[in-house]
């Protein structure tokens, strides 16, 4: 079985095949085989798999609690986003339910992680368009949210914080105060981001009308997350099928109709504002109480299966866990948003200009490690 990607050679004539990645400043651990004709891209073939580690197979060898740090690795910048659905699915199999306070803390962690991940994306998007200030600012502000998350979870990015039955530990007592201070600061920063980047005429010239995804294509190709919402579909798992206690908080789903790169950017910026809005409400709603339902002995569930989807930073994260009653899961199927968004890349790149490749590629918020698992 030979990978056909290896067989693509230069066809001569006016066309040139470029290997964008895996050794390329604009690719990540990932390769796109781009065929260019002049300045236009006539063919694009994504070639993921450079960081594939077989997380699904390895998960079959670990028990339910060991799997939490293991499955966190593919998406360390959105650690809660990737472990929360796993834990929810494991809870269904083990048949426990977290107390309310734990659910609220999970929501806070999930939203903090969404902001951390979006700021990381924004920084990289800035440098992809050649705007180095927009690389440094979000990366600096991201540290504030990492500090907040660290004060709850104990480490900077890989918290392994959510466990079946609840969360590992309670929040520090001064968290509310610190968080509100950070949110106030970041609200001001968002205005500055808009001034220097989002309302910058050169930035809008680079992204508006570029990489337009129609509503119909987005649905048909299985695009998910902010990319789907930028096409005018207000689908968000937090509202569609509320998990944790998302039905108790009131928030909006930012959408745009255009479906171009700029729409995808601005949707993510507004999502960060909504995340802060959710966290403020949750901090109000939270009441003291237990944070964990202690499970005695080795976790082992009834034979059966569970499907869970949640809204991670990049889109809908889906877990399918099959149990045969042993302490290890029989099969763990992870369907990550990045893997489903790859298909949009081929669709959008063909016909665009070579210079638009970074503007389109990273506007999809594709995270190679997540896609490869």
């Amino acid at each position: 079985m030979q990978n056909a990607a290896m067989n693509i050679e230069d066809k001569g004539g006016d066309q040139l095949v470029l290997h964008v990645g895996p050794q390329h400043p604009g690719s990540g651990h990932f390769r796109i085989l781009v065929t260019v004709d002049g300045d236009y891209i006539v063919g694009a073939k994504p070639d993921p798999g450079y960081v594939h580690r077989g997380a699904e197979k390895m998960a079959e060898y670990r028990d339910y609690i060991q799997n939490i740090p293991h499955l966190e690795r593919p998406v360390i910048i959105d650690a809660t986003g990737v472990t929360l659905p796993y834990v929810l699915a494991a809870e269904k199999i083990i048949d426990v339910e977290a107390p309310d306070r734990a659910k609220y803390i999970r929501m806070i962690m999930a939203e903090l992680n969404r902001i951390i991940s979006h700021l990381y994306w924004l920084g990289i998007y800035g440098i992809f368009l050649g705007h180095s200030t927009m690389f440094m600012w979000p990366m600096g502000d991201r540290e504030l949210f990492i500090d907040l998350a660290e004060s709850i979870g104990g480490t900077r990015v890989t918290f392994s914080y959510v466990v079946p039955g609840g969360v590992r530990n309670d929040m520090p007592t001064n968290f509310t105060e610190r968080a509100l201070k950070t949110f106030d600061y970041f609200e001001k920063r968002i205005e500055e981001y808009k001034k220097i980047f989002f309302n910058n005429p050169l930035m809008t010239a680079r992204t508006e009308g570029i990489g337009i995804m129609t509503k119909k294509d987005a649905i048909g190709l299985g695009i998910t997350g902010s990319n789907l919402r930028a096409c005018g579909i207000d689908s968000d798992t937090r509202k569609d099928e509320p998990y944790c206690l998302y039905d108790n908080v009131d928030f909006e789903i930012p959408t745009r109709k255009e479906g171009d790169s700029y729409a995808r950017c601005i949707v993510r910026l507004e999502e960060m504002q909504q995340s802060m809005n959710i966290m403020k409400q949750v901090l109000d709603l939270m009441e003291p109480g237990p944070i964990k339902q202690v499970i005695g002995g080795v976790m082992r569930g009834e034979p059966g299966e569970a499907f869970v989807r949640t809204e991670a930073a990049r889109g809908t994260m889906f877990y399918h866990i099959v149990s045969d009653g042993e302490k290890n899961p029989y099969r763990v199927k992870i369907s990550v948003p990045s893997f489903r968004n790859i298909i949009g890349m081929t669709h959008l790149l063909v016909g665009s200009r070579l210079a638009d490749m970074p503007a389109i590629y990273w506007s999809l918020d594709y995270w190679p490690v997540e896609a490869d698992r």
């Binding site: 079985m1 030979q2 990978n3 056909a4 990607a5 290896m6 993921p48 798999g49 594939h52 077989g54 699904e56 197979k57 390895m58 060898y61 649905i219 048909g220 190709l221 299985g222 998910t224 789907l228 579909i233 689908s235 569609d240 099928e241 499907f307 989807r309 809908t316 889906f318 399918h320 099959v322 029989y330 099969r331 199927k333 369907s335 893997f339 489903r340 790859i342 298909i343 490869d372 698992r373």
Partner: protein
């Protein structure tokens, strides 16, 4: 958890009316429907599910059951555009023999299944007939062992 299953039952009923005994309802739970069928009817079932309004394949995966000598292939389908159906996840399932792991592709009905089917192909060795790019996606090019997600592949050092 509210346990009003009206919508779910309605959906299942419309399918059972159409397919009669060709399909089997595994379970209908809150927001979750699972229907199994034979290998031959999978395609027509999929197009009927699409007609009901479920338009995106959120996940497609296989599971190896060496005791029964079968692969179980599942498509998890969701709807993103219609508010009423958004909370429901629809699973259609079929079992194919391990001796002849071939099945017809569903990407002409669900284009979103393309990469998922490719992944199932390399991880289980199941060939999807009609898929335009039945080739390696995530596995290394020099992988010459049996497909890794089969149960008879044992992780090195974990036997």
């Amino acid at each position: 958890m509210p346990s009003n299953l009206d919508t779910e039952n309605q959906l299942v009923k419309s399918l059972t009316d159409k397919f009669k005994t060709k399909i089997k309802t595994e379970y209908v739970k809150h927001n979750r429907i699972k229907i199994s069928t034979s290998q031959d009817n999978l395609k027509s079932l999929a197009s009927s599910v699409k007609e009901l309004g479920f338009e995106q394949v959120i996940s497609q995966g296989g599971t190896d059951y060496p005791d029964n000598n079968v692969f179980r292939i599942e498509y998890h389908i969701i709807c993103v555009s219609k508010k009423k159906l958004r909370s429901i996840m629809f699973s259609i399932m079929t079992e194919i023999s391990k001796d002849n792991p071939e099945i017809e592709t569903l990407i002409d009905i669900f284009p979103s299944a393309e990469f998922h089917e490719q992944e199932t192909y390399e991880n289980f060795g199941i060939t999807f007939i009609g898929h335009p790019r039945m080739e390696r996606l995530l596995l290394p090019e020099d992988w010459d062992d049996i497909p890794p997600l089969r149960k008879d592949y044992v992780l090195p050092g974990r036997g």
